[in-house]
Amino acid sequence: MRPFLKLLKIVAILVWSVFVVAPFLWALTTSFKTANGVTNGATYLPWIDYEPSLAAWKGLFGSDAGSIDIVGPFANSLIVTLSASFISLTLGTLVAYGLSRFRYKLGPISNADLTFFFISQRIMPPVVLAIPFFLMLGFLGLLDTILGLVLVYIALLLPIAVWVMVDFFNNIPKELDETAIIDGCTPFEAFWRVILPNSLPGLVVAGIFCIVFGWNDFFFAFTLTFTQTQLLPVAIVSLNSSVTPWWSLSASALISVVPLIVVAFLVERYLEKGNISGAKK
């Protein structure tokens, strides 16, 4: 029975791996094909099935006429995502610590309501927010600018950071803060010197969520920009003209995935040892 279960497990993992990896493989082979190679049907093996070509990749980075600028949008995406994630994480962590440790009350409104207020920002569909955001940015003169996008992304990412971190802080025993305070820390020092160093797993999770959501967003990047500022997802989609350049599309899609893969590898080990045992029994 046990060997059979083990076999079943391996088979299941293999099937899932194929399911996950196959699209990447497909995109990878397509990115090395020419127009003819793509229309000739599904082929996977270079030099045997089809003749590989670097045309698509050259087109993305080359400066010749007719090449596509992917570097600019990539840099824009990087700046917007990283700065919005960093600010959201910083503010969100502070907000979450406050909501987790201190009691607020204004009439019938208390901590749970404040926490829900943050989460509720993500309940409505993004379309609802598009017009208000457009009008607000227009009023501020920030449409089609990096700064405008950063502001909007902070509004989108902050709830995620708050949500993850409130839950994380609630699982750290309050006695840890109290011990730090007794040992001579002011409440802020207790947060900074004791709680924060023990919150790395939570920060990593919240950070990943922020980066992934920010990096992958297409809707707001599309509706709040015109021509001056272009983010990567919009740039990739705008490759799609009367004739779809599948080869360039595949190459740029792969490029857009690379940062997330890098993040995943960097962060994996933190997720594994994500525990705060030692603070509680």
Binding site: T179, I182, T186, E189, N198, G278
Partner: protein, 383 residues
């Protein structure tokens, strides 16, 4: 609530330097602390004893500065401590959970409060050396708290609160989460550590009378947020102020039963009849609540018989739960013995060890005579 004051002790000329007045948190039924008045010495050991949710932790947190109060004052040497924030109070606290900094190794854990206070590197090393030897942590200094056993973790927490220059050390049921053997062992260590606490007051909260007895010093009995009794350990043991105090400060709780005194005899409901002992002779005929410790109930003697409901072995003693026609009686005897439950057993009471309490208010009226006791005068004129 009457003000609870420690009677002066002849052999120890301490001064009452911690003064708590009219301290209250919460109101009515849900009050955490209700009009607490206490005067505590500036050094030595004070045990706060009370059942779960009696308000022990809340009281300790007030002393530490972690808990806001609704009303009342807390003075130390004439200074209002409630106005001093916790991080400036120079107190130490050990929780019943093992609270250490998970991201620091044992060395940095213990050094944390010292570094916060700006102590020099050499002095910190000296103190670390001293306290790690004292608590046997020398071999674990480089480990993280989660790599230690529960007892070791609690030692680290204790070490951290001992090294720093604090004038008040608060321990909140520090042994409750440890297994039996470790508890016995650490209990002994506590006694050794706190025996000569000359420059700081150790406040030790517990539910276990044994721990108070081992630590000696003073005892504060807390019940439902109120101070029921306060005084030197021996006084509280020998002269429990009332029925609640007698139950809380004895394990198993002191047996209580109603009875009447008439014609030189004490008549108890279950048909038990006892000759009135000399220390109860002055009581007027009438109804009383009588109390007797489980160790003063003896098997045999044929004074009364009862059904054996439960026999449990507790460490090195055997505890029998008896049912005397509806009146429960607990008997504790040395050694491990085995009994068939539901059997009928004969037992007798050491009448010289009987306590008598008021039936209405439950206050102590008469207690057994004690041969030699330093605090004899601390009875507040009640016998």
């Amino acid at each position: 609530m009457k003000k609870a004051i420690f009677p002066e002790q002849k052999n120890n000329d301490f001064k009452m330097n911690y003064i708590i007045r009219n301290l209250s948190i919460g109101e009515g039924e849900t009050a955490h602390l209700c009009n607490v008045n206490l005067e505590l010495p500036t050094a030595g050991v004070v045990t706060i004893i009370g059942r779960t949710l009696a308000g022990k932790t809340t009281l300790l947190k007030v002393m530490a500065g972690l808990q806001a109060v609704d009303s009342g004052t807390f003075y130390h040497n004439g200074k209002d401590l409630l106005k001093t924030p916790a991080w400036k109070r120079r107190v130490g606290m050990v929780y019943q959970q093992f609270v250490n900094y998970p991201h620091l190794n044992v060395r940095d854990n213990i050094a944390f409060p010292l570094r916060r206070s700006g102590m020099g590197r050499d002095e910190i090393e000296q103190k670390l050396e001293y306290v790690s030897t004292l608590l046997g942590l020398g071999d674990y200094m480089e480990r993280r708290p989660d790599e230690l056993s529960g007892g070791q973790q609690q030692r680290v927490a204790l070490a951290r609160s001992l090294v720093k220059d604090s004038y008040l050390l608060l321990l909140d049921e520090p042994l409750v989460n440890l297994d039996y053997k470790l508890r016995e062992q650490l209990r002994e260590e506590f006694r050794r550590l706190f025996k000569d606490s000359k420059d700081r007051l150790v406040v030790y909260a517990t539910t276990e009378p044994d721990e108070a007895m081992i630590l000696q010093g003073h005892v504060v009995v807390l019940h439902e947020g109120r101070v029921i009794q306060a005084g030197p350990c021996a006084d509280v043991y020998h002269y429990p102020a009332n029925i609640i105090s007698a139950k809380i400060f004895n394990d198993p709780p002191m047996n209580m039963f109603g009875g009447t005194i008439a014609d030189g005899l004490i008549q108890v409901a279950g048909g038990l009849s006892i000759k009135t002992p000399s220390h109860l002779k002055d009581l007027a005929p009438g109804s009383y609540v009588f109390g007797i410790r489980a160790i003063d109930v003896k098997l045999g003697g044929k004074a009364a018989s009862a059904d054996l409901v439960l026999a449990e072995v507790n460490g090195s003693t055997t505890v029998l739960h008896l049912d005397m026609d509806g009146q429960n009686m607990v008997l504790e005897m040395q050694g491990v013995h085995h009994f068939d439950t539901a059997a009928r057993v004969d037992f007798s009471l050491l009448e010289s060890r009987l306590y008598a309490f008021d039936t209405e208010r439950g206050e102590l009226l008469a207690a057994p005579l004690i041969k030699s006791l330093s605090g004899q005068g601390g009875l507040n004129g009640k016998n």
